[in-house]
């Protein structure tokens, strides 16, 4: 078992979720005040990573963040951090690649709050901020938890873009999925099998959790009954 890779993957997943969940909430809250056209364009952009091959994203990341590129060079000078073949690089790739997994469920759950309830909190005299904390967030929290689980498990399983952007540097960019690939290449079938099973179990539990959350006692479903 490659504990180092597992630790790295967990760290990557947690850090990705840490950024994407709060931004997802803000973006969703911000978006519901925008026009439908703006929202449609934004949604399309958010959904793109879902359909693009990881290699396409990896290609664009290498081209734009490589030290030879204008952006990469400038960033390196500024922060002394390289965004290719580094943890920072695969973190950035994960952030972009997980946008649909994080933001879309959050957005859906805010959208699912019935207009009547929104009208109701306004006529109750709640300010936007109060309404957000007392009504919108509690009603949307299941979508948020779902987004968290999806983002985390998906980051653990991400392979293509991580390999392209990060390569295979132990302790730095070698995540569990890359480690499995590596073990297979070197014919350590037992090791690979263990880690594959671990990922399978984690993904299964994660999905099961989000499914049950969505299905059972959903507050909005209750409202409509």
């Amino acid at each position: 078992m490659d504990w180092q890779a597992l630790y790295l993957s967990t760290q990557l997943g947690a850090l990705t979720a840490l950024v994407l969940i709060p931004t997802g909430i803000l973006v969703s809250f911000w978006m519901h005040k925008r026009s439908t056209l703006t929202n449609q364009i934004l949604e399309t952009l958010f959904t793109l990573p879902l359909v693009l091959p990881p290699t396409v994203l990896g290609y664009y990341m290498l081209v734009s963040f490589g030290k030879g590129s204008w952006l990469g060079g400038w960033l390196y000078e500024l922060t002394n951090i390289s965004f290719v073949f580094s943890f920072a690089g695969i973190w950035l790739a994960s952030l972009i690649f997980n946008i649909p997994f994080a933001w879309l469920p959050i957005r859906r759950s805010f959208e699912a709050i019935p207009q009547e309830l929104k009208d109701a909190y306004k006529t109750c005299g709640l300010t936007t901020w109060q309404a957000f904390w007392k009504i919108e967030l509690p009603l949307a929290w299941k979508g948020i938890v779902t987004a968290l689980i999806m983002t985390f498990t998906h980051t653990l399983g991400e392979f293509g873009v991580v390999l392209m952007v990060g390569g295979n540097i132990p302790g730095n960019t070698r995540t569990v999925s890359i480690s499995i690939y590596d073990q297979m290449q070197t014919l350590h079938m037992e090791e690979a099998g263990m880690m594959a099973l671990l990922l399978l179990v984690i993904s299964f539990i994660g999905l099961l959790l989000s499914q049950t959350l969505l299905a059972r006692n959903h507050s909005i479903a209750r409202y409509k009954s």
Binding site: E116, D119, A120, L139, S225
Partner: protein
């Protein structure tokens, strides 16, 4: 006090204005899509409306002219939504607490919970409450805001019938304690009628009428309002103002011609002075002004009818009547089961229906401008009217006196008739004398009369008519219509003449117009210009009577209830009747 004026083209069309006093309940009523919920949301500030004004008490919530717009949060409004809109993740108490203004003490919540009977339920979540309980929480939440205005959006539509009844009672009780205006949106007319002080009828974003429910149900402003408030029997007619009566006083009664064209009957109605003469109208009569009886005990506005359907709806029966009229018309009335029993109603039975003139409500028809114009033109069409006044009779049953010379209140009948005709004829009226000819000519020596003498009055009226027609034909062969009038009908006045001429104008076929009252042929009779030329040009012997017998299809019978057309003075008894009825004095002429 709430004043609302809203105008908007999109996203919804709105053009409405209404108001509601403190302590009053205003119901906005209309079909789906009428803009009632939009209006409510606009008042609450949830729907931005480009043009308008909303004033609550001394606060202006919105004024597009001054570019003022308070956000919903700034408007002190309590709103109850169709599906209650309780927050599902909060308990009843928390839901109510949420609406409490910042510096308000929580004791208010306690009081509200107690008033609404929710003390035991305060820790429950909405999904643990019944529909009626949720509704009460919603109402308590609306009151917790200490609002200046209460809005109820179909607030009772989602609960079952027994619960609704209880909630109605609670609302009625609650209203007695609060002094703020309440606006309720509903599509349920019974609910609106039961709960509201005022109703505003909305249709396609427009406010059509605002008044008390009783007023709207008995006097809808127009046909659309009548339809929207569920009045199923809406009839067509034409409104005729009555002319000043003979004694000179303005009559408050008017005539409603029910039906169109020649097949119509006249109803007496009250003239409220709002509509011009000859207005096309729709009309309704509310149930409390309809009298049903087995015998014809009233004269005016009474019609025989055949019962075609009885629907028993508990204590109320809905009956359908086919009215015995020259045109097909039916009427639906709701009466008590007891009345069905008292009148021993059964299908096929004939009963008499009377409409109290006070209960007949007329509404102008706003027709297509083109149609309206055409109708106006037809009515305003200048027609050439000639008249024959027949005064050739001997008056034998009154001792051979010249009847047209009897004086009523100092003026002879002949003079009265000539005066009446003056306003209508386009050439001097022909007065056909026979017996007492000199006496009459001496009496009325006027230039505007074309005197014609029948040398053989004994040959009967037909010969006098023929002579009169010849005289008119010679004066103007292109006449449009000839009025044939008798000299001994004391009631005939300008209104009657006007009525029959208007009838003639809308008549589509036929050459004769003959009023018929209670199965009796009346006078005057109208003959078309074509009829005049036909008769004169046919042969020197042809009389009107012969012509009518030859062409019965050209004779149009007009069923009227105007008894002026059938009363003439023939016997001393007639004179007595007339005097008794009118109180007018009659002075008989001397026989020479």
């Amino acid at each position: 006090m709430l004043q609302v004026k809203l105008q908007s083209q999109s996203p919804v069309f709105l053009d409405m204005a209404f108001e509601c006093q403190g302590g009053e309940l205003l119901a906005l009523v209309g079909p789906s899509g009428s803009g009632k919920t939009s209006a409510l949301r606009a008042i609450a500030g949830l729907l931005p409306v480009p043009t308008g004004k909303i004033i609550v008490g001394d606060q202006t919530w919105m004024d597009s002219e001054k570019n003022q717009f308070l956000s919903p949060t700034q408007r002190s409004v309590g709103m109850v939504f169709q599906n209650y809109a309780l927050f599902p993740h909060l308990t009843a108490y928390q839901n109510i607490r949420l609406a409490l203004p910042k510096n308000e003490s929580e004791t208010l919540i306690e009081a509200l919970l107690r008033d609404m009977g929710l003390l035991d339920l305060q820790k429950r979540y909405p999904h643990e409450l019944s529909g009626g309980q949720r509704q009460r929480v919603a109402l308590a939440r609306a009151f917790a805001r200490k609002p200046n205005l209460l809005l109820l959006d179909e607030a009772f539509s989602a609960v079952d019938h027994p619960t609704r009844k209880i909630l109605y009672e609670e609302l009625i009780k609650l209203r007695q304690r609060i002094e703020i205006p309440i606006v309720m949106v509903t599509h349920d007319l019974r609910e609106a009628r039961l709960l509201s002080d005022k109703m505003c009828i909305l249709d396609q974003g427009k406010s059509l009428q605002q008044a008390t429910p009783a007023h709207i149900f008995s006097s809808p402003r127009n046909k659309r309002v009548a339809q929207l408030v569920g009045l199923s029997d809406i009839y067509s007619g034409t409104f005729f103002k009555n002319q000043a009566s003979e004694s000179g006083t303005e009559s408050s009664l008017a005539t409603l011609q029910w039906g169109r064209g020649i097949h119509s009957v006249d109803l007496q109605i009250i003239d409220k002075g709002r509509l011009p003469d000859q207005t096309e109208v729709k009309w309704v009569v509310s149930a409390q002004y309809i009298d049903l009886s087995l015998v014809k005990n009233l004269e005016i506005n009474t019609f025989a009818a055949t019962l075609t359907q009885i629907l028993q709806l508990g204590d109320i029966s809905s009956i359908t009547l086919n009215l015995d009229l020259p045109f097909q018309e039916s009427m639906h009335i709701e009466i008590s089961a007891r009345m069905v029993k008292e009148l021993q109603l059964s299908i096929g039975k004939t009963i008499y229906v009377s409409f109290d003139p006070a209960g007949i409500h007329i509404m102008p028809v706003y027709a297509d401008p083109a149609i309206k114009n055409a109708q106006k033109q037809r009515r305003e069409k200048q027609i050439q009217v000639g008249a024959i006044l027949l005064v050739a009779g001997e008056g034998s049953r009154l001792g051979s006196i010249p009847k047209p010379l009897m004086k009523i209140e100092g003026l002879t009948l002949l003079e009265r008739h000539i005066n009446t005709l003056q306003g209508f004829v386009t050439l001097p009226p022909v007065v056909v004398t026979g017996f007492h000819a000199e006496q009459m000519q001496e009496h009325l020596n006027r230039q505007d009369i074309n005197w014609v003498r029948n040398p053989q009055p004994k040959r009967g009226q037909s010969s006098s008519v023929r002579l009169g027609l010849e005289a008119l034909y010679q004066s103007n062969p292109a006449l449009d219509v000839v009025l044939m009038m008798l000299g001994d009908q004391p009631y005939i006045n300008t209104a009657d003449i006007r009525q029959i001429i208007e009838k003639f104008k809308v008549m589509k076929n036929g050459e004769f117009l003959l009023p018929m009252v209670d199965g009796k042929r009346g006078n005057p009779v109208l003959l078309s210009g074509k009829g005049l030329r036909d008769i004169i040009e046919h042969s020197p012997e042809m009389t009107v009577r012969q012509y009518m017998d030859m062409y019965p299809e050209k004779v149009i019978i007009w069923e009227s209830s105007n008894e002026h057309f059938i009363f003439d003075i023939d016997t001393p008894q007639d004179i007595m009747d007339f005097q008794n009825k009118t109180g007018f004095s009659i002075e008989l002429p001397l026989s020479r």
